[in-house]
């Protein structure tokens, strides 16, 4: 994959409209101010900047608010069952390695019901770009606690504060074998463009965790204000990776690092299997 130079045209809204699925009635299911739209436009810009054709992109997703995204974009869409999208996406990528597979998932979808598929997709290092939109809550079902709901935080199923610990999706992905791991937020929209572009270009499993706002449930139940207030909160709590490395653990309390947290060159699953096929067929 060649990295195309940044295209000025892509900053215009007309590019966004080019990639919205024709005949699909808007509005979307997303609440006004939801971060999902910011992520969607970042993906559009990344795909456009990389010069990918719409036909070579398959967008898979599971169940939840963020997982509705493939419905709205003019790519092949595989809107699957709750938590299973990475297993479906594995089938698509392995069957047709020439396709670019982008998987859209949420914190409940990827880390609770889909936790097993998530770690094994990381382990295989299959060339899929997973974009995990983390809003710390189940939005579509009305605000229940998720595996990324922080300890003590409120949701409709943690009405007295969350008794559980939360997952860090990036640490989990790295430990499980993903060869590209990055984190950004919906406040850092320009950084998100670059990171998603890098993730799609990376050969191997890439995870992009996007911290996003569910002001409708998470924000309201935890008195964090409206969408703008929550984006400001992300701005205040996000620390660039380089800076975070110079900070002490105490200084990082309540904050999180953003940027490309991990990247390594590692053999990719479909490539390795193809070499097995070539060897077996050649030896016949």
């Amino acid at each position: 994959m060649t990295t195309a130079t940044k295209n000025k045209k892509s900053q215009k809204s007309s590019v966004i409209l080019d990639y919205l699925r024709p005949n699909k009635g808007m509005p979307s299911v997303w609440c006004a101010g939801c971060g999902n739209g910011i992520v969607m436009t970042a993906i559009i810009r990344a795909v456009d900047n990389l010069g990918l054709s719409k036909d070579e992109v398959v967008m898979a997703s599971g169940i939840g608010c963020s997982s509705r995204m493939p419905m709205y974009l003019d790519f092949s869409a595989l809107h699957t069952t709750h938590g299973r999208s990475l297993a479906f996406a594995t089938g698509v990528k392995f069957a047709r390695p020439e396709l670019k597979v982008i998987d859209i998932t949420g914190d409940g979808d990827a880390l609770a019901i889909g936790g097993n598929h998530f770690i094994h997709a990381c382990r295989r290092n299959i060339d899929i770009t997973a974009i995990l939109i983390n809003n710390n809550i189940y939005g579509m079902t009305g605000g229940q606690g998720s595996p990324t709901t922080p300890s003590g935080a409120f949701s409709t199923t943690t009405p007295y504060g969350n008794s559980e610990k939360h997952f860090d999706p990036c640490s989990l992905a790295k430990a499980a074998g993903a060869s590209f791991v990055a984190r950004t937020t919906v406040y850092h929209a320009t950084q998100m463009d670059t990171i998603i572009q890098k993730a799609i270009s990376h050969r191997g499993f890439s995870l992009v965790e996007v911290i996003s706002n569910c002001h409708t449930y998470y924000g309201r139940l935890n008195r964090m204000g409206d969408a703008v207030a929550m984006l400001n909160d992300f701005k205040n709590r996000a620390v660039p990776l380089a800076k975070s490395k110079k900070m002490t653990e105490e200084e990082m309390v309540g904050k999180f690092a953003i940027g490309v947290l991990h990247q390594e060159e590692k053999t990719e699953f479909c490539d390795v299997y193809q070499s097995v096929v070539d060897k077996v067929k050649g030896g016949k």
Binding site: M71, R84, T90
Partner: protein
Amino acid sequence: MADKERVLVMGNQACVLGAIYAGLRFFAGYPITPSTEVAEGCARELPKIGGRFIQMEDEIGSIAAVIGASVSGLKAMTATSGPGYSLMIENLGYAYMTETPLVVINVQRGGPSTGLPTKVSQSDTMQAKWGPHGDYTAITVAPSTIGETVTEVIRAFNLAERFRTPVTVLLDEVLGHSRQIITLPEPGEIEIFDRVKPTCSPEEFEAFAMTPNMVSPMPAYGEGYRYVCTGLTHDTKGFTTNKSEEIAPKMYKLRHKIIDYQDEIHKMRAEKMDDAEVAFISYGSVARAALQATDIVRKAGYKVGALQLQTIWPFPDEKLREMCGKCRAVVVAELNMGQIVHEVRRALPPDIEVHELQRYDGEILTPMQLVNKLEEVL
């Protein structure tokens, strides 16, 4: 022309031979007794023909990957047994809803739960019909010999592609693990059906369009037809819908694309039925015992025949009535506590006695057990 190829294989290996003959290029699975040899055979054979094998993290992921491969244009299959089939039920429902062709082999063992991993059973017969929640019409086939396993797996692929639907092949532990010398069909001997692809322009394309036979042409991902494939109830374009006037046609299509053409699906083997007054009705490995029992009882001078259901679902009501027209009684023999017998009762007129013979202790029904049961009836 050289003699046809003869091989000594077990039923599970026969599945692999049949599937590859039918065009299998993708297998995803998870180890489970007594079906594991299907996965092992695919792992060994598929790379040789440029196909793909993947061992997934569980059965849920296995059928998910199979669906992903099928919508990407490859003929795809998975194989499992009871507990794994239960896990596949979720995404099997997705395949019904999204009209995705695929084949699931279920080598049945005793249940419920972990049950009897190494013992035979036919107790997933109803699950093959009503596994996933919701309304749909299932297609299920069941071979009874190793040779028939090859041809029934080929038929399962043809039905899956013809009707754009998942097809379950019910084997059982005895069939999966028995070995027989079989003659393989030559290339071209059995017709292979491939899914119909769209010929219209992408602009005109509707992924779930109503067609004269209710089966919509199916493109592969990457071929220029960008559409939404979703497990949510959808309109003809694939977009989600809550409109009654769009929901009803989709549900009608799921059922009637199959039920209106069930003559193409039904298959039944009849032995000595021409003058039979009493008939055995069975399927899977029990059908072999029934054939032998029929021979034994015929030698004693009784007019007995045997019917083997090769298509289990949709249940062949009309064909069964026709075949049993001259019978005064039937004996339904199966390795469960009574599943297909209720279908037989429902299908046959009330003047035909329906007797049942069941075994559910992990062992097969022997020909002598069938003979003894017949003595009660005669």
